[in-house]
């Protein structure tokens, strides 16, 4: 039973355009959400996070939006660059426990020059 779902295995966008990666979750106890980026042959690296008390968090070209009623979050990358090509994992955790992250399967983003 997947509690964090990334329904798009892959996404391809043109350089300079917006990339939107989506994530849905089923566990209403999740209250902290993270996005990780993973290049081949490397471990996942933290990108951006959002607490459930917010609906938006922005860091440079990266913005995460959270819609709690829909149990949905999205990562926007604007403008997209070829170096953004990687697998993006959505992850979630519950209150009081930073220790357990539940991951989605990831979305492979390809940014074409």
């Amino acid at each position: 039973d997947q509690q964090v779902k990334q329904n798009s295995p892959s996404l391809s966008v043109q350089e300079g355009r917006i990339s939107i990666l989506n994530c849905d979750y089923t566990n209403s106890m999740f209250d902290y959400f993270l996005w990780y980026k993973k290049y081949p042959a490397e471990g996942p690296t933290f990108l951006i996070s959002i607490s459930s008390i917010k609906d938006k968090n922005e860091d440079g070209r990266f913005t995460v939006f959270l819609n709690k009623s829909a149990k949905h979050l999205s990562l926007h990358i604007v403008p997209s660059q070829p170096g953004d090509s990687a697998v993006y994992f959505c992850a979630a955790s519950t209150g009081g426990s930073n220790y357990k992250l539940t991951f989605g399967k990831g979305t492979l983003l390809t940014v074409n020059p």
């Binding site: 993270l34 471990g43 996942p44 009081g96 930073n98 220790y99 357990k100 992250l101 399967k105 990831g106």
Partner: protein
């Protein structure tokens, strides 16, 4: 540079032959984790150490054990690897920060590059 190191990067073992994967960190983080990631699947937490306290996930098979002899090192032991244990194994660390009022500061996990295990 402070980092999480995993050795070896690629490990081949035979069915049933015990194997140990290692993880070390120079971040001085008090929490260390082991994840298993099978092809096209989400990373799945196997267990974690909070300082010396071992915390096993309920669905982690008994075949998987872990040791943390000191802050810097953590090992994953697979006692009798089966074909289904072939996967990428990711080690991660984080620092638990306690704030006033008993709150915890949320801290991201730092991952190593992983060890890809092949079982023949």
């Amino acid at each position: 540079d402070a980092m999480v190191i995993q050795n070896p990067r690629y490990q081949v073992t035979q069915f049933g032959k015990p194997v140990t994967l290692s993880c070390s960190q120079t971040l001085n983080h008090n929490v260390m984790y082991w994840y298993q990631q099978k092809s096209s699947q989400a990373p799945k937490l196997l267990f974690h150490y909070y300082d010396k306290d071992f915390n096993n996930e309920a669905d982690t098979p008994d075949n998987f054990q872990s040791r943390r002899p000191n802050t810097s090192f953590c090992f994953l032991d697979i006692r009798s690897p089966g074909l289904g244990d072939a996967a990428m194994y990711l080690c991660a660390t984080s620092r638990d920060k306690r704030l006033a009022g008993g709150l915890k500061k949320r801290n991201e996990q730092f991952f190593g590059p992983g060890t890809r295990l092949t079982v023949l």
